[in-house]
């Protein structure tokens, strides 16, 4: 938990809209994420949670609105988006490890090719990260030889290897068997403790209650509620939120 209330703004989103042809998915989202803040994004299926995250590193091109990452307007025409993305680690529901590379090679790929650090240094850092997620002995295993939970932990290490300022997680545990969810959440909990700025789409109530500073509740492309886990879980007055929480509890 990192309630140090750092004044520094990490992410600022102003009136973000996203349309897929006729489908208006995000209808004007504005919010601010501070340094070291852990923000959980919740909401019913199809409410636009994934789209929201993916717009923030422009994996999805926003239709309109402004996005500032550490004060930099990433919608500006001259911006080098790949440069911005190196500051934002992303973890996907389906892991998306590179199947032709071993765990350690997956981790080293971006540091060596994007950050241009040497193989030796990348290997050292990569091994340290694997240690951190508890998979040092799996360094030379290929993704297909790892369980889902192990793959997801390697994916987290891969994202961390770029030493990002921010981490995005899009339902990192929903593709996992129940007995593997804990090991991934543990890694995420540690990152939160270490002060990483995180945005997490997840419905893991225990994790959110414990690790999140704030919850954004999305419905129909809008933030319908924004508050601490206690406010949202125990004192929500919004019909949509109560209805949704009733379903997943």
């Amino acid at each position: 938990m990192s309630n140090m209330n750092l004044p520094e703004t990490m992410i600022e989103v102003v009136d973000l809209h996203k349309r897929f042809k006729d489908l208006h998915v995000l209808k004007g989202i504005s919010t601010v994420v501070k340094h070291s803040e852990v923000v959980a994004v919740m909401g019913p299926s199809g409410s636009g949670k994934s789209t929201f995250l993916r717009c923030l590193n422009r994996l999805e091109e926003p239709t309109s609105g402004r996005i500032y990452i550490e004060g930099v307007d990433i919608m500006a025409p001259y911006i080098d988006i790949n440069r911005v993305r190196t500051e934002i680690g992303m973890v996907f529901q389906s892991f998306n490890l590179f199947p032709h590379l071993t765990a350690i090679e997956n981790i080293k790929l971006a540091p060596m090719n994007v950050r241009k650090i040497s193989n030796k240094e990348a290997t050292e850092r990569g091994m340290a990260l694997l240690e951190k997620v508890g998979l040092a002995e799996k360094a030379t295993a290929y993704p297909e030889q790892l369980s889902g939970g192990q793959q997801q932990r390697v994916a987290i290490a891969r994202a961390l290897a770029m030493q990002p300022q921010i981490m995005f997680f899009d339902e990192p545990t929903s593709a996992l068997d129940p007995e593997m969810i804990g090991e991934v959440l543990d890694v995420m909990r540690n990152m939160a403790k270490e002060g990483m700025t995180m945005m997490v789409v997840s419905h893991e109530m225990g994790f959110i209650r414990e690790a999140a500073d704030r919850i954004l509740f999305l419905a129909d492309g809008l933030i319908v509620e924004d508050g601490t886990p206690d406010q949202i879980f125990n004192h929500s007055k919004h019909k949509r939120t109560i209805e949704f929480l009733g379903k997943i509890l």
């Binding site: 934002i88 992303m90 590179f98 032709h100 090719n113 889902g148 994202a159």
Partner: protein, 336 residues
């Protein structure tokens, strides 16, 4: 099988099997072996002598063949006969058919060694055959290199999903897949010089083979790219890899694995088409064999050429099949 409840769904063949199944085994066996004895006796005493070709003789041979087939069908439809016996029977049938042909055809079997496997003739033809061999190899390798480069580029451009670009690429692919290679060769070698574009015969051959093959190669690579999941590209992008790095480090290595078996198959197919180059005055392997056959008045060089083709392509075809099997096996292992 003999379950009466199933009889409605049974096909004609299994009906027949049912009926045979109801005939007592002793009676069926005595029929089968009795028939066989008759066949053997027929073969020994009633088949005409070697080389006969009168109408009556032919009739007797034909009758023998028909009886043989009837017997074979009786055994084959008998469910109680073992798999091994049926296999033996099928093979014997082929051997007997071959023997009948050998015995009654007017082919000059006795001279086969001299005609087809004449080492002396092959030695005489050797220098020309080797020249032909190298020419064929040059055509095949040249076409393979050209088609790989062009096909890969086309597939990469295709992956940009630009409507205008796609239109031209699809037109290119369709055109060269529809165009017979031999026509293309003749166009390049005999028509283009009128325009002042003169290519050597070899270059024309490589160009025609390469253009044709590149159309297929581009489709193979396209399928390879499409087999790489969208999540892979997203993960690469999210890490800050540029589109070119993503292509080089993430998409190509994965696509190559999928692509290699059909690619090898395509190279073999294209290499087999090198024989068409004889139509534009190139003396490749087949043409070399043919010309030596005429010169020496002996077909041994052609037989040797056949063996050489097989020696080249058989291992490659096997290899492609092996790769395909290996790839399918590894695909089954991949989770999610």
């Amino acid at each position: 099988m003999a379950d009466p409840k199933n009889s409605e769904t049974a096909t004609g063949l299994s009906d027949l099997k049912d009926k045979i199944g109801h005939i007592p085994i002793i009676r069926r066996n005595s029929f089968v072996y009795g028939f066989l004895t008759v066949l053997i006796l027929y073969g020994v005493f009633l088949l005409p002598s070697r080389g006969s070709s009168g109408t009556v003789d032919l009739g007797r041979i034909a009758l023998f063949g028909v009886l043989l087939l009837i017997w074979a069908m009786v055994v084959f439809t008998d469910e109680l006969k073992s798999e091994k016996m049926k296999t033996t029977m099928v093979f014997s049938l082929f051997i007997i058919a071959g023997w009948l042909y050998y015995r009654y055809s007017t082919a000059r079997w006795g001279e086969m060694g001299f005609l087809f496997f004449n080492v002396e003739m092959i030695q005489k033809a050797w220098p020309t055959l080797m020249e032909g061999f190298w020419t064929t190899l040059l055509l095949a390798v040249g076409a393979a290199i050209m088609s790989t480069i062009v096909g890969l580029l086309l597939a990469v451009f295709r992956s940009f999903n630009n409507a205008v670009l796609n239109f031209f690429i699809i037109a290119y692919v369709d055109f060269f897949r529809a165009m017979p290679i031999i026509v293309l060769m003749m166009l390049i070698y005999y028509a283009l010089p009128f325009m002042g574009i003169s290519l050597s015969a070899i270059m024309s051959g490589i160009l025609a083979l390469g253009l044709n093959s590149s159309a297929y190669v581009s489709e193979i690579f396209r399928a390879g790219f499409l087999s790489v999941k969208k999540g892979q590209i997203e993960a690469a992008n999210a890490l800050g890899l540029t589109p070119i790095q993503t292509m080089r480090l993430v998409i190509l290595p994965q696509a190559f694995r999928v692509v290699i078996p059909p690619l090898v198959g395509n190279y073999v197919a294209s290499a087999k088409d090198t024989a068409l180059a004889s139509s534009i005055s190139i003396i490749e392997l087949l043409k070399a064999g043919l010309s030596q056959k005429s010169l020496l008045a002996n077909p041994s060089p052609l037989i040797f050429v056949t063996a050489l083709y097989l020696a080249m392509f058989l291992p490659l075809t096997r290899f492609a099949g092996y790769l395909e099997k290996k790839m399918k096996a590894s695909q089954r292992q991949v989770r999610l």
